[in-house]
Assembly symmetry: D2
């Protein structure tokens, strides 16, 4: 696995060339793609060169966002899915191997099973379009009870469930996005990671949680940098990834607004060293 | 539909002959069976006579409890299911047409889909054994969020879901036990009852809810007698039953310990008149 | 229900104005739409007028073909589904209320359950797009064993199965296209039609079967005009439709090449009178 | 893997002590248990000794038959499942690790999905009772089209499907019984075995097929000894087992009545050497 710079996940921003310099300077192994920047390069050849330039700096790609809303009304979803191949042309030209999205863990009108059918239906189609382009899709589950319990019908909010969903689509190019914060808030432990294989994991986030509240009181958008409070068993989480032989990107996504008030180099040096310490 | 006296659901108790007298005295249309009392009559003929005696008093039967725990370990479930026919012999001799149980709305280890398979598996078998004896099964869903959100995996806690479960078993002799308290706490309204048919409803409870808390704060074991606080739209609920052409028993189950401290005749007169007012 | 003229299903062809005249002349209650003809009228107003003109002749619409291949590769399906709204604009302007397609009853690579997921996925999306336009979708199952047994994995080939599929999509605007030939070859009888409601039936075909072979030897493309051989229990079939309160179109689709060699007025007079006799 | 003597599968019979001697004499690695013989030993201690005596002869156990009919009416199934623990006591005392049964590949009344629910329901319960006793269950799929196409609704008749069924039960102690004859008649090739793991395979049969008919004309009860006609790709099949790291029993089940007319030692010498040649 390799550390991945995602400025967006840190609440920071920079133009793409600057992001590349920052990633190199602070020793990240990869960085998030900027699809707008890549698309603006012009034709496929220019995009290919831009991707190659990143690789020449020794950087690999993080996961691009899936530009499709899995639960949008049919008319909107249909438009998004028919526009998808054009975006995929950019991604494949740049050498970006995977896209990701998350699963909304509740619904106010659809029962678990109706929502399941919706997700399998939409995912099957998205996965097939991605497979045609040689791309993988990562699905992130969202663990906090303060989130999944807020509407009438809780939905997927655990690793077991997202794996069941992926299995039901029958798609070989769909895997999990694991986040230690969701893993913890879902009530999961190292045991839940046993048996995972690299091929099932598309991307990883590591975060810690505040230590002033119980697990079921944790809030999705209030997290900590990894290995700060020690609430989350980071060592157990990373052992699970290592046992799986995980080879992909690892980033942080702490939703800490204070980071944007600090010197960016201080933040990135800290984040990079925390990622390196975790990856080992 | 007809009012049904369930002393147990009122937190009261009496021997069965006394219960029959109380039901008649207070104008109930039916009463809950007492399987122990019936079984103690001896042979099938004696049980048949005991059942006939109740009918002769103008009383119909409420729903007997299903003596099977749907989520018990296999060894225990297997024993219960193999003991079931003996109990069914008592029920059928006495003319009791249906049994009921409830669905536990969460699980700490089984995901929604694994728990679904467990329930379909167990229910399919129970329903077939009941069908052989000519009996129906009622399934009650449990609505309060303070209950279904207390373990890692919420499960069936709404009318829509319990209907999906029944459909998936494929059993023609399984229906719903509706309780206005669960209907309210599940966030359901009169709209959710549209299209229900009598054949889908096995039994009905009507209760009101305390008016000092929000819907999502309601507690399963803290209810009120129907039409007291007005928190629950009893008129809308009863209209739904009438539109369905419902023909079965209606009882109250308020979990009010104070009832046992009042004169039983006062309690039953009040309950009977509340049921009559609702049934109309 | 009403008799419906489908020249295509008879192996005949005529321009649309001629088809309208033929439908009127021979007393049909409706006719199949000709989407190309309608689209060629120009703008929505012109299409609306063309549709109104048909209605003024006392004719109702049969079912239009769904211009989407449910089992196409994702790229093709995606294109078709994004093109669908334009076609639906034509259909709705002309007042055509429903489209139809059939379910391929076998697959050489997808197991029953994988094929089920594919169909539910595609149908869910198609149904939602159709619902946005106010249209219904009819699904025809195909019954002959000589067809469903020809690849490794038989799929939906009975009324029960197509109803299960529709239920699993959760779509309220999808129903069945019933064909007496498929009903017979699927081994179904009048009993299988009990409980059907008009809302579940989108269109009906009536055909008879050759009397020189057993049911399991019948071939999909070798049928007879209704009430000729008597192999198929047409009376039982029509009773089922009547009991369902069916209100839609009824046509024949005999795959008899000999019809195109006869004077078209003779053919249509015969077909119309056979439909009238069946509808009663 | 090891060669397993199953006299029953050869159409032969002998008392159990004789079977043990024959297995040793002809170099088999294991033999089928004889539950009646074991149960007749008396108490658990005596059964344990009888099992130990077999192990001392250097023999391992084949798979015992599951004494439960998965598709029996509920009353019968309920009796069988409640009687099962007593049989399992015999099996565990004797050290027999697994039982097996087969899946009937069609049904005349239950659709694929209704039959699926029946199988998942029954299997879930059986698997849990077996798991309590520490036993595994093997499920054999049956491949010939001349069998699965004979009723209205074909059911599981391939490796993919039986693996889907096992996954849906969620049971960790259920695996496949593979038979090269079913593998061939199901239209499967070496590719279908890729990815199989030892933990998924409970037992294996190897047989060849007559060379005077096409694959879809093969009959379930008309097979050949392995590596005789060469119709079945035995090498490819065994490579799949080796790649899976398969460690269990391998036997033949040719349904050749001629074997019972030959000297038993000749038959067993031939079978043993064919198994050894295949196992390699």
């Amino acid at each position: 696995m390799y550390s991945n710079l995602s400025l967006g996940a840190l609440g920071l921003s920079a133009d793409f060339p600057t992001a590349v310099e920052l990633a190199v300077k602070h020793g990240f192994g990869g960085l998030d793609p900027d699809i707008g920047h890549l698309a603006a390069q012009g034709d496929q050849g220019a995009i290919r060169e831009a991707g190659a330039a990143v690789a020449e700096r020794g950087l690999r790609w993080g996961v691009a966002g899936l530009p499709v809303d899995l639960t949008a009304p049919a008319a909107e979803f249909t438009t998004q899915i028919s526009d998808l191949p054009a975006t995929l042309d950019v991604l494949t030209a740049a050498g970006i191997p995977s896209v990701g999205t998350w699963v909304r863990p509740m619904h106010d009108a659809l029962t678990y099973r109706r929502n399941w059918v919706l997700h399998v239906s939409r995912l099957s189609l998205v996965a097939e379009v991605l497979a045609d382009a040689g791309l993988r899709l990562g699905l992130e589950y969202v663990g906090p009870k303060t989130f999944w319990s807020t509407e009438r019908f809780p939905f997927i909010h655990s690793l077991s469930e997202v794996r069941e969903l992926i299995a039901d689509t029958g798609a070989a190019n769909v895997g999990v996005i694991l986040d230690s914060f969701h893993w913890y808030t879902a009530g999961e432990t190292a045991t839940d990671l046993v048996g995972l294989r690299d091929a099932e994991i598309v991307s990883v986030d590591i975060n810690d949680a505040p230590d002033d509240r119980d697990r079921d009181e944790q809030l999705d958008l209030d997290r900590r940098l990894p290995a700060t409070t020690g609430v989350i068993d980071l060592a157990g989480f990373m052992t699970g990834l290592r046992d799986a032989g995980y080879t992909g990107p690892v980033k942080v996504e702490p939703f800490l607004t204070s980071l944007s008030e600090q010197p960016i180099d201080d933040v990135l040096a800290d984040v990079s060293s925390r990622l390196d310490a975790a990856i080992g």
